[in-house]
């Protein structure tokens, strides 16, 4: 899967958890989930579970803790896919 394809899927997965939906249109790798998109910190668990289901991977707690930005999410997902 190409990097951009993973990024687009991440956006789709995160979308239901985003409060600041207007920020989603211009989101890039540096966009922060909590601060920029207004995701409730508790929902990071749900987002990671959704990543696991979508990409058929397992993300451990240490890796999950590294997900701060959209770029982090893509990185963690691609690491687990290798």
């Amino acid at each position: 899967m190409e990097h951009q394809e993973t990024f687009d899927k991440v956006i789709g997965i995160i979308k239901p958890f985003v409060k600041n939906t207007d920020k989603l249109a211009g989101a890039d790798e540096n966009t922060r989930l909590l601060e920029d998109l207004g995701v409730n910190s508790a929902r990071l668990v749900d987002i990671v579970l959704a990543f696991e289901d979508e990409f058929d991977i397992a993300i451990d707690d240490e890796a999950a803790d590294r997900v701060r930005t959209l770029g982090d999410a893509v990185t963690v997902i691609r690491e687990q896919q290798q």
Partner: protein, 429 residues
């Protein structure tokens, strides 16, 4: 300072109607919200009928964002949130579109429930945990099954900064919430309080009552006739669900912002019968009931004959005649002078923790809009109630009550009573 407390907003999501106009029409026309549930037949319930709000998923989509709905899978949360938003708007406020800005430190919420999040706990969390998949459940279980889940959700949606809490006292819950919120304002701790009760829709709750043999099990083929308070053929209550929430407000605050005032809360009381003198976990001590009503009248500064109408607890069990006997003793009026009394449960079933909330909304609507609704299914009046026959309307009476008394009684032998009075602006006097 002797603060007066008035009602400036109402929200209701009942089995026979959503919103004030639909609910009022249902009350006036005697529309039953009791339906047959195939699932209850499949599960071999004795009572296979119940009351639940209709069209809730569609309402949720209109009211809440996808992000908000993600943690609204338990019906107690969604019912409460819908009624609270309705009440908030009815009181003249806008629902915040985002979480920026300060909390509203002048407003709190006491929103009670009988059984919190049981649908999600029994239907999803329990089986998932037992299957060794606890870590796959996601983040939203605790906030939906904790007892205070419903008030917490409402507090966040509306940005409330006063006390935000859930009370629970079985079937007294909703009325007790109104009393507690009233005292919050009287004590000067808040200008406004959302108050009321919510009960989720769950066959796990209903099944637990079915196990006690206290539900109506003999009218599954006639659901709209199954809830029969005050009837000789009453055989138990019909379980229900929904939400009823009131905005209580300090009079000065209401006047200052030009709010519409539906009613004044003239007096209140909460007590317990101590499970003595005939009372038990499941039956009220009649002396406790009478003391509660009398104390509410005293706090309102009125006499029994000043009560123009009563919205009873009246669930359709053997306790109905005893309840009316207690009302009569507490009011101190002869049966021929007894005020009209009705049972909203004849239309919506017993909505448990929501009952007091929904029935307080009904009581305030009756005061504000000038009627006393009839009770369904008691044409065959219980023989002990014959002396009160003239006071038990079967169809809506157009009248202008100035004082409506509402009481609720619950397992644990707990009681609550609220005296609502018609409020006239000084300009009208």
């Amino acid at each position: 300072m002797d603060r007066r407390v008035v009602v400036t907003g109402l929200g209701v999501l009942a089995p026979n109607g959503h919103g004030l106009d639909e609910f009022e029409r249902a009350l006036r026309e005697g529309v039953s919200g009791i339906r047959f549930y195939e699932k209850l037949r499949e599960l071999k319930f004795g009572c296979q009928v119940g009351g639940a709000p209709q069209g809730v998923e569609e309402i949720k989509e209109r009211y809440f964002s996808e992000e908000q709905r993600f943690s609204m899978k338990s019906t107690v949360i969604s019912f409460g949130a819908i009624a609270a938003v309705d009440c908030w708007r009815d009181a003249g406020f806008e629902v915040p579109t985002d979480a920026s800005g300060e909390a509203d430190f002048d407003t709190g919420a006491i929103i009670g429930t009988g059984v919190a999040g049981i649908d999600l706990m029994c239907g999803y969390a329990g089986p998932t945990i037992d299957a060794g998949r606890a870590r796959r459940m996601g983040s939203t279980i605790v906030e939906q099954v904790m007892c205070s889940g419903v008030s917490a959700r409402i507090g966040g949606l509306l940005g409330l900064g006063g006390q935000v809490s859930t009370n629970s006292s079985a079937c007294t819950t909703g009325t007790e919430a109104v009393v507690e919120a009233y005292w919050n304002i009287r004590a000067g701790r808040a200008k406004r309080m959302l108050a009321g009760g919510v009960e989720g829709e769950s066959h796990y709750t209903w099944g637990s009552f079915d196990a006690m043999r206290v539900l109506a099990a003999n009218r599954n083929d006639e659901p709209e006739q199954a809830s029969r308070p005050m009837s000789a053929s009453a055989s138990g209550f019909v379980p229900g669900s929904g939400a009823g929430i009131l905005m209580l407000e300090e009079l000065e605050s209401a006047l200052a912002r030009g709010a519409r005032i539906y009613a004044e809360i003239r007096g209140t009381n909460v007590n317990s019968g101590g499970q003595r003198q005939g009372g038990s976990m499941t039956a009220p001590n009649p002396f406790g009931v009478q003391r509660c009503i009398r104390a509410a009248l005293d706090s309102a500064g009125i006499r029994g004959e000043d009560v123009d109408a009563i919205n009873g607890h009246l669930t359709a069990t053997m306790a109905d005649p005893r309840e009316i006997a207690s009302w009569q003793a507490a009011l101190g009026v002869a049966p021929e002078n007894f005020p009209p009394i009705n049972s909203t449960k004849s239309m919506i079933g017993h909505t448990l923790g929501a009952a007091g909330g929904i029935e307080c909304v009904a009581s305030v609507l009756e005061l504000d809009r000038g009627f006393v609704h009839g009770s369904l299914n008691c044409e065959d009046l219980h023989p002990e109630l014959e002396p009160y026959a003239a006071s038990i309307p079967h169809e809506t009476r157009e009248m202008q009550p100035r004082v409506v008394a509402k009481a609720s009684f619950g397992f644990g032998d707990v009681n609550a009573c609220v005296i609502f009075g018609k409020w006239n602006s000084p300009d009208d006097n």
